[in-house]
Symmetry: C2
């Protein structure tokens, strides 16, 4: 049987996604957990594949891996989470034998901007990218053929501006290069006309924003995935909650100490 497993991970815990000999990577950790739990033996035999190879530093809420196994879906989730560290499997689907997670209906990325920029200006810049364009100015890995962006949402959440980008597929570095161009345009460093020209094939480099604020939110398929919350995941979320609260308190306490200055 072939299954697709939806995974979340904190990009800060890994040296990127793709397997590397001496580095802790997301794929490496997933495979080690799957092997240790005996969910699969040989990755090649099990036709192990990932939906998206996120860059180093990028986190995922819903990346997807797929593999063949003799385990029942619910048992996969439990056994995987028993072994994996810093990666959490939280939804699963049985999929056809030929299923390759790269062939998705849509991918959804979210970038968090922590500079104060005008939302209407960012939205105007965002609109330039929506639709079918030549994105070779917006990737570290140019290739022939256009790409279609389905939608870009710009919204505010607390101190962050969220930029939600959806497309069937992305090229390497594409989200971070689009966001860099949008932010520079909103700041007035570059003109909308320059972005338009680049999207029509005139090569330009508008820079790239840092990877940590980027989350791969979800990868969508025609098969629905079933959420399965094993106790381990509840515990992990709880301990993540404490850790996060500790970070918040550390910062607040430093700031309070520093501000209490006469």
């Amino acid at each position: 049987m072939r299954v697709a497993l939806k995974i979340a991970y904190d990009g800060g815990a890994f040296f990127g996604h793709q397997r590397q000999p001496d580095r802790r990577t997301v794929e490496g950790e997933c495979l080690a957990a799957l092997r240790a739990a005996k969910i699969l033996r040989d990755p090649r035999e099990a036709f192990f594949r990932s939906a998206s190879r996120t860059d180093r530093g990028v986190s995922a809420i819903g990346n997807v891996i797929a593999f063949n196994t003799s385990f029942a879906p619910r048992a996969v989730v439990g056994a995987f989470n028993d072994r994996a560290r810093d990666v959490w499997g939280w939804a699963i689907a049985e999929v056809p034998d030929a299923f390759h997670p790269r062939h998705a209906l849509e991918r959804w990325y979210r970038y968090h901007l922590f500079t104060d920029l005008s939302l209407p200006t960012l939205r105007r810049a965002a609109a330039l990218f929506v639709g079918e364009h030549d994105f070779n100015s917006f990737t570290s890995d140019p290739a022939p053929g256009p790409i279609t962006i389905n939608r870009i949402g710009v919204s505010r959440a607390g101190r962050a501006i969220l930029i939600d980008i959806r497309a069937g597929s992305f090229r390497r570095g594409m989200v971070r290069r689009i966001v860099s161009a949008m932010a520079r345009c909103a700041r007035g460093d570059i003109l909308e006309e320059e972005i338009r020209a680049a999207l029509n094939g005139r090569r330009r480099d508008f820079g790239i924003v840092r990877p940590e604020p980027l989350f791969l939110m979800d990868v969508l398929y025609s098969v629905p995935m079933r959420v399965i919350l094993v106790p381990k995941i509840r515990d992990v979320l709880h301990s993540l909650e404490s850790e996060t609260e500790l970070r918040v308190r550390f910062l607040a306490t430093v700031q309070a100490a520093v501000r209490a200055a006469p």
Copy 2:
């Protein structure tokens, strides 16, 4: 001239406090920064000393280091922060030549508990420890002689219970062993009587809580320290704010995704 520099650091970034050859430690990072900035040359010559050697994983808001230097106090803060990573100097004082930061009026530690316990019960347990007692059941490093705890505060802040402990000096692991005993007493695992007996010299081991939720809040001296906020520190606090917010958002997004389950 001799100066005392107040430093904050995130315990998670270091392998403990005390210098070790191949490990990143708080003292090691401070000394490397002081040397690189030419604030001091030889640590022994400069009579470099720390107020408290926090355990691995423990963070500080206000630990204190002292050393001799030819730099003016304000220049020390700027040059130190230019070089140090994950340690921030934020207040300084000129001190007498014989000043040793270990000889403090009071040290203040704060522990964050993330389990829900009754505050009145915790306060009753806390009261047992206040005053002069034999703390050899509450340290990994027993030594003759009593110790005096000045005050223990128990309060709630969001999801955390804050336990604030103040004493002139502490022995190794003491705060975390006291908190462990308080929590076990509040949970009903041990009786107040058992703690009282231990504080009267009957050796017992009530366990130890994990180090990450412990902050060394401040070390007090008769000399007042002047807060000096160099631009670097403002930037660091700002980027720490973004990082912290990212952690908060990562957690909230995972939880929202997981909870959105049908």
